[in-house]
């Protein structure tokens, strides 16, 4: 559910040392950060290495490895997290195809789902 609303439209921009966009968890509730197993960003066919992904909510930034043991913070329902990729120089001007995939551990499911959203995004100023 909400798969096609994971990437927030118009949110792609270059940041210091890379690029970033706003992302939401495709779920009818939120999740504690320790249950986010992986976030994969692919831009124009190139997948960002796991160690180059950063996750930011309410002013706190984490690597994916750090998130695995974060028990006192959440990615809330509908909350727009800042999803950043370290990529020197960022992205070039114009449109980019961005895929945002999240693997999350749900206690009641006998498997670990991955959900993704792909959008054509124009780089905001």
């Amino acid at each position: 559910m909400m798969d096609n609303k994971m990437i927030v439209e118009g949110s792609l921009r270059n940041v210091e040392g890379g690029f970033a966009f706003l992302g939401r968890l495709p779920y009818y509730r939120g999740l504690g950060l320790s249950m986010i197993e992986d976030i994969q960003i692919t831009v124009d066919g190139e997948t960002i290495a796991r160690e180059d992904v950063r996750f930011t909510v309410r002013g706190k930034t984490y690597t994916l490895d750090e998130m695995e043991t974060v028990y006192d913070n959440r990615w809330n329902f509908g909350e727009k997290a800042l999803i950043s990729a370290l990529k020197p120089g960022g992205l070039g001007a114009g449109g980019h195809e961005v895929t945002f995939a999240v693997r999350y551990r749900v206690s009641y499911l006998p498997f670990v789902p991955t959900t993704k959203d792909t959008k054509e995004l124009a780089l905001a100023a």
Binding site: M1, K5, E37, Y108
Partner: protein, 340 residues
């Protein structure tokens, strides 16, 4: 004559709007109240940012009580999610799980709820251990009986036996009406058709479900007809859904305290094509049920690929249907449009 059964809404129903910030909590409560659905159920962590990892803010809880009061509503249930897989590589120990449930009992009490909803993945022993605390706090813990489970499933039977043995009346059931799926939901079929399922195979699956053919036979039948991936998915959906009998709730009525009025689609003339609410209400009345039926709209995920769900209109239609089935004289109607 009006029925003793009351109407409510689980705010889960408005998830498409609340996720996007198109409806506030006040919009949700006001809308439900205007429809005469005065019982409000929530998934705690959907409605309250922070719960449970960094807690719900006092101001947010105060706002909740103020809105409930303003619209003359009644808090019904806090649906909690025991995340026993919180720690990677190990499941929570028994005592940790019990402590986590107690935390949700506290939260339920703080919100003025009568019930907290447990998922079926939780062991009966954990609930039995938490029951005395729930009694103290005036809360009942209700396990949600949800398809593919049903009241004759051994896991539910085990829960029922554990509850009886505990002697506690703080343990009970919350049946989700989706387990009485008497026809293949049209919105499901239409989505699989959009994904490319062959129409004649989709028709075959729909008919086979109507005929109650075993899911494995339907899947094989579809494959032999040359089903593509979407058509096979359409058939495989039968593995997790079934047309159980509403009357099987009767035996468990003393422990049934809340109902999820699951629905996938309400047509313009206020009919749910796949779930027999007329039979359901008949059974509940026969069983002397006096709790709430809370609307639980789940059609959103089946149509969002092609249209923006209109959850409020869907809930309105279901409330119209429920009011009619319950013998109410006034047709529920919205007064305040939600700015979308």
């Amino acid at each position: 004559m009006a029925s003793a059964i009351k109407r409510g809404v689980s705010l889960y129903s408005y998830q498409n709007e609340t996720f996007q910030g198109k409806m506030t909590l006040e919009d949700c409560i006001r809308t439900s109240a205007e429809l005469g659905a005065k019982g409000i159920e929530i998934i705690g962590e959907q409605t309250f940012w922070g719960w449970p990892e960094y807690g719900a803010a006092d101001a947010d809880v105060a706002n909740w009580h103020s809105l409930i009061g303003k619209y003359d509503c009644t808090p019904v249930s806090h649906d909690f999610m025991l995340d026993y897989k919180r720690y990677k590589g190990r499941e929570m120990a028994f005592e940790e799980q019990v402590a986590s449930v107690k935390n949700d009992i506290d939260f339920g009490a703080r919100l003025g709820m009568k019930f907290i909803r447990a998922l079926v993945s939780i062991s009966p022993d954990v609930l039995v251990a938490a029951a005395p605390y729930a009694e103290e706090k005036g809360i009942k813990i209700l396990i949600e009986v949800h398809a593919p489970l049903h009241f004759d499933h051994p896991w539910i039977v085990r829960h029922a036996e554990a509850y009886e043995k505990s002697g506690s009346d703080a343990l009970g059931f919350l049946p989700d009406m989706g387990m009485f799926l008497h026809a293949y939901p049209p919105v499901w079929k239409e989505r699989f058709l959009r994904q490319g399922a062959q129409p004649e195979i989709a028709d075959y699956i729909e008919k086979a479900y109507q005929d109650r053919v075993l899911s494995e036979y339907v899947i094989l039948g579809a494959m032999q007809m040359g089903a593509n991936k979407a058509a096979i998915s359409m058939a495989e959906a039968l593995r997790h859904n079934s047309a159980f009998e509403p009357k099987r709730m009767l035996e468990f009525m003393p422990r049934i305290h809340n109902i999820h009025g699951k629905f996938y689609q309400m047509t313009e003339d206020c009919v749910e094509p796949s779930i027999p609410y007329d039979k359901i209400v008949e059974v509940l009345q026969k069983g002397g049920y006096q709790g709430y039926i809370c609307s639980e709209y789940e059609g959103n995920r089946w149509i969002e690929d092609v249209e923006e769900p209109d959850s409020v209109e869907q809930v309105r239609r279901q409330q119209v249907m429920l009011a009619k089935l319950l013998g109410e004289e006034t047709v529920p109607a919205l007064k305040t449009p939600v700015a979308a």
